[in-house]
């Protein structure tokens, strides 16, 4: 198995060559502005479609920061058609929102999700595709249930919903500039930290 990162021209070219010689491909990315990061689309545009008779499997994993699966709906629909466009056999698309919380939430909260991902890997290795039931189990909520929205409202009123951001901004000495509008029409040149 080879793992390729797509964050430079050189790496994207290497990954495009690897795509051409693979028997199975797993494309994974975090959600940026409701779809794949620009570097992923840049890589996809480099690819030459494969010979369909090779039956190369292609699966996709989308990791969203915001909790609802709906945030990924457009790119999920695109990914459903992508393998066929590239001469591959679809192995399934896994979408999971709310993964950003992994960076600060206790490990036990994501134990079940990690188990699901192990299962997905096993399925791709043995059956050549993700099982629909596991995809559904990983996906979580399409939209947030009322109780989660209600809980958020309570946290918001209590001033706790943005605690992570306030803490991080303070650590970076940037809290006082948090609401800066450096490019507002008619505004003077930016005065906060960083480049103009």
């Amino acid at each position: 198995m080879e793992v390729h990162y797509l964050n430079s021209d050189r790496r994207r070219r290497a990954a495009a060559e690897a795509f051409g010689r693979s028997e199975a491909v797993l494309l994974a990315f975090p959600l940026y502005m409701h779809a794949m990061p620009g570097i992923v689309m840049t890589w996809l545009e480099l690819l030459e479609p494969l010979d369909p008779s090779r039956q190369v499997r292609m699966g996709c994993i989308v990791q969203g920061g915001l909790p609802e699966a709906r945030q990924s709906s457009a790119v999920a629909a695109f990914l459903g058609r992508l393998p066929g466009r590239l001469g591959c056999v679809p192995a399934g698309t896994v979408v999971r929102g709310g993964v950003e919380a992994m960076r600060f939430a206790p490990a036990f909260m994501f134990r079940r999700l990690r188990r699901h991902f192990t299962t997905l890997g096993r399925q791709l290795g043995t059956a050549g595709r993700f099982d629909d039931a596991t995809i559904a189990a990983v996906a979580g909520h399409e939209t947030m249930p009322a109780w989660r929205r209600g809980l958020f409202r309570i946290l918001e009123v209590a001033g706790l919903s943005d605690r992570y951001w306030v803490t991080t901004l303070r650590e970076n000495h940037a809290l006082e500039h948090c609401f800066d509008r450096p490019y507002a029409p008619g505004s003077a040149s930016p005065t906060g930290p960083g480049p103009g």
Partner: protein
């Protein structure tokens, strides 16, 4: 009305690309003839680097990306517009990489903080006023479902600005019809324009 066309097409001589470029040229010219102030920005001619996901624009230099390229100027143009049209030829049935790179780089337009909007979590607004958003898609060899899926991406984008997609056009639609739709927006946005001028001082 100030209109910015953010054009994600390539420098290609393919028939589809030439057809797309010609359509956008006609669209810009017709809008100008109808009194709109149009900026047509070809992303392929800019130094526009991809978002690295560093979050500096949220947590270190709020509102600004640390990369020194042409995106700051595009962001200024974006914010002083009344309508922003994302124009892209479909690639693999979706937006071009250039367009996606730009969409990612617009994340400093939001705050990192999360709010609920129409029952969904979205990022809070950084600015007091945003332009309306539309898209102009060139189907090329792709089909109606690809157009629908790509439009859905821009609908999601507009939703994140607590808005709706104001123009959803494709190059199959005559330029005059698209301009009629934009003229209709102008009438709707008269109050917004006054508000914009007040905000801009």
């Amino acid at each position: 009305m100030k209109v910015a066309i953010l054009d994600g097409g390539a420098n290609s001589v393919s028939a589809h690309e030439v057809e797309y470029s010609r359509y956008l040229g006609d669209l810009a010219q017709t809008m100008r003839a109808r009194g709109h102030e149009v900026e047509h920005i070809r992303l392929v001619e800019l130094d526009l680097r991809p978002c690295t996901g560093c979050w500096s624009c949220w947590i270190r230099t709020p509102g600004r990306c640390p990369q020194r390229d042409d995106c700051a100027e595009v962001t200024r143009t974006y914010l002083r517009s009344d309508l922003v049209l994302f124009a892209t030829p479909l690639r693999l049935g979706f937006v071009s990489a250039l367009t996606k790179v730009l969409l990612d780089r617009l994340v400093p337009l939001f705050l990192p903080q999360i709010v609920l909007h129409a029952g969904e979590f979205v990022h809070a607004d950084r600015y007091a006023r945003y332009p309306r958003v539309g898209c102009v898609l060139h189907r090329g060899v792709y089909d109606e479902d690809d157009l629908r899926i790509t439009r859905a991406l821009f609908e999601r984008y507009a939703f994140h600005f607590k808005s709706e997609l104001a123009v959803a056009a494709s190059t199959d639609i005559p330029v005059a019809e698209v301009c009629d739709a934009i003229d209709g927006l102008q009438r709707l946005t008269a109050d917004e324009a006054r508000q914009h001028r007040a905000v801009a001082g």
